[in-house]
Structure formats: C-alpha cells, structure tokens
C-alpha cells in the first residue's frame, strides 16, 4: 500500500459522510428508508478507516504521510509579504487512530439510533445531521493545517448546535443549543486570534512548517511570551470545545439532545477534539502555556467531579463525569504526559460512549424517565445493559483489567512526576481526589439505577431489554473497554503496542530556556529521526518512579470510592438524607453546580444585557436623536422653501397674472364693441398725430 493510496483512502473516508448527509437530507421525504444509506456509508467509512489505520501502523509506523496543495495565495506575486494558503491531509499515527475511533463510535451510534430514534418525525434529518457531524469531525482529525482545523472546528460546532437543538420544540433544548453555540464562540475567538498570531509570523497555516520554523528559533515578535500567548489562545478553542472551566457550562445543558448524540458528540468525539487539538500543537507549547493548561485541566476535573456527586439526572451525572475526564486529558497534556492524554482520549471515548448509550437504553426502556431516583432494580430487567454499563463504570473508575485503568494510571503517574519535578503538588492532589470521586459517583449511579428495589413500580413493569441494534453497540463498546486491545499486560500500559510503538511523545520545538528542563530532548539521544523523540532521562525516570505509587494509590482510592458508594446506597449503612442534612452547604454547592450558571447569569449575561441596554439607550437617544434631528431639519427647510415657493415664487407668478389681469381690465373699457367710440379714438388719434408731426 503506497502513501498515495492512504491519502486517497483518507480523502474518501473524509467525504463519504458528507455524501451521506446530502443524500439523506434531500431525499428523506421521498424515501423514508434512506437512513439505511447513511448507516451504510458510515459502515463503509469504518471499513476504510480500519484499512487506513492498519496500513499506517503496519507499514508507515515511523513516518507521517502528508499531502497538500496550494489553495490560493494572498499578496502580489514576487512580493515578500506573499501568503500561501494550503489545504492538505496529514496522517500520522495519532490521526490514523483517531480516524478509527471516530468511525467506530459514529457507526455504533448510527446503529443504536436506528432503534432509539424510531418513530421520530424528523428521523431522516437526524441521520443527516449525524453525517455532517462525522464529516466535520473527520476534517479536524485528518487536516494538516490550522485553517482547515478552524473551518471544521466551526462545522463541528454547527452540527453540535443542530443536534442539541434537534427537539427544538422544547424550549430547554433550543436554549441549550444556543448556549452551547455561544459559549463555544468565546473559546473560538481566542483560538482564531492564536492562529492569526502564528499565521502572520510564519506566513503559513501548516502545522509542520510552523513547528519547523519555531525550532529554528523564529518566534512571533521574537519573543517566547508571544509563543506562550499563541499556545494559550489556541488552547482557548479547546477550553470551549472540550468544556474546560470556565466555559464548561454548556456541556451539561447539551444533554437536552438525543442520548445517542450525547454519546457521539458530547462524550466521545467532539469534546475530545479540544484534546486532539492540544495533541496537535503539543510541540509548540511553552512551559508557561503547559502549566496554564495543566491547572485549567486539574481544576476542571475537580470542580465537575464534585458536581457529579449529587446530580440526580442520569445524563447529567455522565455529562459532569465527561467534563471531569476531559479535564484529566487536558491536565495530562499540561503535565507533558502527551501519550497518556491521547490514550485516555481513546479509552474514554469507548467507555463513555458506552455509558451514554447504556443510559440511552435505560431511558428508552423507562419511557424517557431520566431521574435516577425513580429507577432501581433494572438489573433483572436489562441484564445486558447492566453488564455493559458495569464494565464501563469499572473502566472509568480505573479498576484493573479495563482500558480506563491503564490510561488513568498513566495520567496520574504523569501528574505525580510533574509534581515532583516542578513542585506543583496541587495538580496530582486534584488528580487523585478526582479518581476517588469518580469511582464514588459512578457506582452511586450504577447502584441507584440497576440495584436495589424499583422505586417506580409502574415504569419498572414496562421496562424491557433493548433490541439487537441497540444492544450490539453496547457490547461492541464494552468489549473495546477491556485492556487487551491496548496492551498484553493489564498492569503496565507501557508494555503495550499502543504506547510503545504507536503513540510517542514528539520532540518539543520550543526554545530550551522557555521549556521545562525535563521536557527538553537530550541531544545525545538517538531517535531524533522521523520527528519524534524520547523524553530526557529525567522525566522517564520520574514517571517510572511514579508509576507504582500512582497505580497503588489510584487503586486504593477507586476501591474506596466504590466501597463508600456501596455503603451509602446499596447496604444503606449511612443514612444519605442525614448526611446531606449535615453537609447542607457543601451539598447545595455541588447540587447547584457551584452556582456557576447563576454567577454567569449575574455577570456575563447580565453584563451583556446591561451593555445592550446602554447601547439601546444610545440608539434610542443619540442615534435616533440624530436621525430625528436630521428629519426635523429637513422638515424645517422644506417648510421654509415651501413658504418661499408659496409667497415669493407663487407671488411673482400670481402677481404677473394679476398684473396682466389688471392691465386687461383697465384696457377692457376701451374695447366697447361700439364702432362710434372707435371712430372717436381714430379721429382724436389722427388729430394728435397731426399735432405731433406738424412741426416736421
């Protein structure tokens, strides 16, 4: 398989969901079964992506496949300020794996939706939207430049907007869609500015040529501070899309969309795009930028884990859990554990999609009941859903033999190493606290939903296991949440092919003085070839040092979290209500999401409304005043010129008429019509003439 074939296949894989979108959208009315075309197209894409991923990893493991062409250029020919805008595709190992992940999730979600959305009045449109989403997500994955990244970034935002607001008749759904779109826009502005800083410095959008120019010491405005700024600004895009604090508020609201959409977009793929972006720009992040990213990620994962503890809506718990895990990934990039960030992205995509689809299965069975207080005992009714949900819960809690254990352990080891090397111990503290809370809230969810006695008898009686098309995705994803796909040794992620040969941390291109010293590549090392390198000995050693403590501690904490959940909800040794009463302020803080929505309403929303009011006042008084004044002035001058017209112009005209009339009237008397009078005039005239001419 040549590189050319791989590029060709990626282009096909990129564009067939678009084809599916167009055909499904425009023929949905005529052919009600056209959604099978969309599902089939995604299945075909899945096959192609398997081929691409296999070919890339097997034959071109150490080589990036890049292909691009010049789209257009700006500026006069031969001018030094000429900019070339390129489009192109970059398939490295990360992109190939991501391509496969997106297609797997997209395909199972398509399958799941066939049953879940059955009977919806906009059934085909739903599938068309899934198609445009898949297309835009793949665009982010395969692109080789910032411009295409940004374009697809916005397209992803659009499809997310369309899908969150899919049931737009519901006020809450259309509000959530608006909120998601607007909050994302805030992050995107930062990302756009960051991209422009890079573009105007390096005159290109292409990742690799920007990075190679940085490594040659060419910096924006000759300052590493600007490089840091560019990194943080681009990271702002990830803050919006990956729902990091302070812009995470849109993601829980986005659960208004159909549940399979939550699985596809708001758990597995789109929200991971932010992390993917960070993975892409990892090499140009300076120490300051990385520290910022790590702090934002750690704080996000902590704050949303505390919120997830008390939520009662099954999807809200999962949503906050998603924000928390995304915080993990971002934090992981920040502490330099690049490979583990991407690893966690992949494992999380599978088990979180599974959790969402499982919750979708439950919601479907319970006739759109989402409150876990009304569930319970579903284990007997839905054994398959229960089993897959349990596996994924174990994975997200970080229990051995699952994929989540491997990636989470790696991230925690990375934070621990980071803490030891830089002294920022708060980051690993946050990380481990979150691990405890994650295990607790996930098992609270499992116990309240599936264990115990049914609390709503009537709905329980009607509940039933899902059909095959809904069950199959759950099984597929649960199977993918097991360790064996990533490493043969369930206790050592490093031993696996995923980390040892597929995903390697690339060499930072940032000047040495503005990078963490442990991140700098040791020039004596040997594998600087092919654009990838190993960490200096120090970081590797520290991670090895951190590996076993981190594993042990995370295991203890996860076990503790699960135990507490069992004690509180299964065996009911602790009265939950009394505990809630005792910790009322903390409970309220968590239940009300740290009052962040209220805070934003009071500040940002109220600020914008206040500003709008000021602007409206300005509009009404000043602008309208000017307009009205101009109108009044025009009216006045018109009146004056009207008066001039009436009195002067008309006066003249009338006067001349009057004058002629007057003359006519006076001479009218002469015209008596009596011949004799005329004769008298003639005679007298002759006499007068004679008298006059006598003298001549």
């Amino acid at each position: 398989m040549t590189e050319y074939t791989i590029i060709l296949l990626s282009v096909i894989a990129l564009f067939i969901p678009l084809l599916g979108f167009i055909i499904t959208l425009f023929s949905g009315k005529k052919f009600p079964k056209v959604y099978w075309f969309e599902v089939g197209v995604t299945g075909l894409g899945l096959l192609i992506s398997i081929i691409i991923c296999f070919a890339k990893l097997a034959f071109y493991n150490n080589q990036n496949i890049i292909s691009g062409f010049q789209w257009f250029s700006i500026g006069a020919a031969d001018s030094p300020s000429r900019y070339f805008i390129e489009l192109g595709i970059k398939i490295d190992n990360v992109a190939a794996l991501m391509l496969l992940v997106v297609y797997i999730i997209s395909f199972v979600v398509h399958l799941f939706s066939v049953e879940y959305m059955h009977g919806d009045k906009r059934y085909n449109r739903y599938f068309a939207y899934l198609g445009i989403f898949t297309f835009s997500m793949l665009g982010i994955v395969v692109t080789h430049n910032f411009l295409m990244m940004y374009i697809f970034w916005e397209l992803v935002g659009l499809s997310s907007y369309l899908l969150i607001g899919f049931w737009f008749e519901k006020k809450s759904a259309s509000d959530a869609a608006k909120k998601a779109f607007l909050v994302n826009r805030i992050g995107d502005i930062g990302m756009f500015i960051g991209i422009l800083i890079l573009f105007f410095t390096y005159k290109t959008f292409t990742f690799d040529s920007i990075f190679s120019q940085i490594s040659q010491g060419h910096l924006p405005f000759d300052s590493t501070a600007w490089l840091t700024a560019a990194g943080i600004l681009v990271f702002m895009g990830a803050v919006g899309k990956s729902a990091q604090f302070p812009l995470h508020v849109w993601l829980p609201d986005a659960m208004e969309g159909p549940t399979p959409v939550s699985a596809l977009i708001h758990a597995a793929t789109m929200v991971a795009a932010g992390v993917y972006l960070l993975v892409r720009i990892f090499v140009m992040l300076t120490a300051d930028a990385m520290l910022t990213i790590a702090i934002v990620g750690a704080f996000t994962s902590f704050i949303s884990a505390t919120i997830a503890l008390t939520q009662n809506d099954i999807k809200k718990v999962l949503a906050y859990s998603t924000v928390s895990q995304l915080g993990y990934m971002v934090m992981s990039v920040g502490v330099g554990a690049y490979a583990f960030a991407f690893f966690h992205l992949v494992t999380h995509a599978f088990f979180k999609a599974n959790l969402f689809l499982g919750s979708g299965s439950v919601i479907h069975a319970m006739h759109h009941e989402q409150d876990i207080r009304n569930m319970g005992g579903l284990r007997k009714k839905m054994p398959l859903t229960y089993l897959t949900f349990l596996i994924s819960s174990l994975a997200i809690s970080g229990i051995p033999l699952t994929s989540g254990f491997l990636s989470k352990d790696g991230i925690l080891a990375g934070t621990l190493a980071f803490g030891k090397l830089t002294g920022h111990w708060l980051i690993p503290v946050f990380g481990f606290t979150v691990a405890l809370m994650t295990a607790f809230y996930m098992f609270r969810l499992v116990i309240l939903t599936f264990h115990g006695e049914p609390r709503d008898r009537e709905k329980y009686e009607h509940a039933h296991e899902s059909k095959f098309v809904m069950a199959a995705p759950l099984v597929i994803l649960a199977v993918l949440s097991v360790f064996i796909w990533y490493t043969p040794n369930p206790f050592s992620p490093d031993a696996g092919w995923f980390l040892s040969s597929w995903v390697k941390t690339p060499h930072t291109v940032v000047p040495a003085e503005s990078q963490f010293n442990f991140m700098i590549y040791n020039a004596a090392g040997e594998s600087a070839l092919h654009g990838e390198i190993v960490h200096s000995e120090l970081y590797t050693e520290t991670i090895h040092w951190a590996h076993y403590p981190a594993m042990l501690l995370s295991l203890i904490l996860a076990g503790l979290g699960i135990l507490i959940a069992y004690v509180m909800y299964q065996w009911k040794k602790i009265d939950v209500d009394k505990l809630t009463e005792k910790l009322k302020p903390l409970y309220n803080l968590s239940l009300n999401k740290w009052y962040l929505d209220e805070l934003y309403h009071a500040t940002a929303v109220a600020g914008v409304i206040g500003l709008s009011k000021v602007l409206a006042w300005f509009d009404n008084i000043i602008v309208d005043g000017i307009v009205n004044g101009a109108g009044y002035l025009t009216k006045l001058t018109s009146k004056l010129s009207g008066l001039f017209d009436i009195y002067v112009v008309d006066g003249l005209v009338n006067f001349s008429a009057f004058f002629s009339g007057f003359i006519g009237l006076s001479f009218k008397r002469i015209q008596t019509g009596k011949v004799q009078t005329y004769v008298v005039f003639v005679v007298f005239s002759v006499i007068i003439l004679l008298l006059i001419f006598k003298s001549f």
Binding site: G673, K674, V675, Q676, V679, V680, V683
Partner: protein
C-alpha cells in the same frame, strides 16, 4: 368780388368732413351714420377737385372724384342692403343695440 381760392375750398371741405365725422359719431341710426360717411366721401371729392384746379395735377383729381362718386353709390347700395337685412333680423337699426358679436 371776392377771389375764391384754394383755401375756401379746403375750408368748406374741412367743415363738411367734420360734419360727417360728427354724424358718424353721434347718430344712433345706422342710416344716419351712412349719410355721415357720404359726407366724408364728398368732402374728399371737393379736395380732389380743388387740388385738381389749383395744383398741377391735371384732370387726375376730377377723374378720381368721379370714381369716388360711383364708388359711393355702390357703397350706399351695399350698405343699405346690409342695413335692411339688419332690420329684418333685429327689427332695429340702432347700432348701439346690435352687439351680438360682443360677448
């Protein structure tokens, strides 16, 4: 015996002319106006004859005078016919009241 010169003729002619004008201006009866016109024509005749006799014009003046007499006769005939027609139409020959063309 008083020598009768050109002046005498001209004075008579002038008196006659004035009388004619007076008749035309003051009379209301159309026939009277016509008679005034005749007087004026004849005053002109006297002038022609007088200038013919006292000037160096030869017999041209007298010839014109004859011509005017004939013309006056023709005119009188036509004018009287008109006056008759007016009378037939309006039962009136008073020129003050015949003002249908006015208006």
């Amino acid at each position: 015996m008083i020598h009768v010169g050109l002046t005498h003729f001209l004075v008579v002619s002038a008196i006659l002319f004035s009388l004619g004008i007076y008749a035309i201006v003051t009379r209301k009866n159309a026939i009277m106006v016509l008679m005034g016109v005749e007087l004026i024509l004849n005053s002109a005749n006297i002038n022609f004859v007088a200038f013919s006799k006292f000037g160096n014009l030869g017999l041209g003046g007298q010839l014109i005078a004859l011509f005017i007499i004939i013309l006056a006769a023709a005119e009188a005939a036509v004018a009287l016919a008109i006056v008759l027609n007016i009378y037939k139409t309006f039962t009136n020959v008073n020129i003050d009241e015949i003002d249908n063309l006015k208006e």
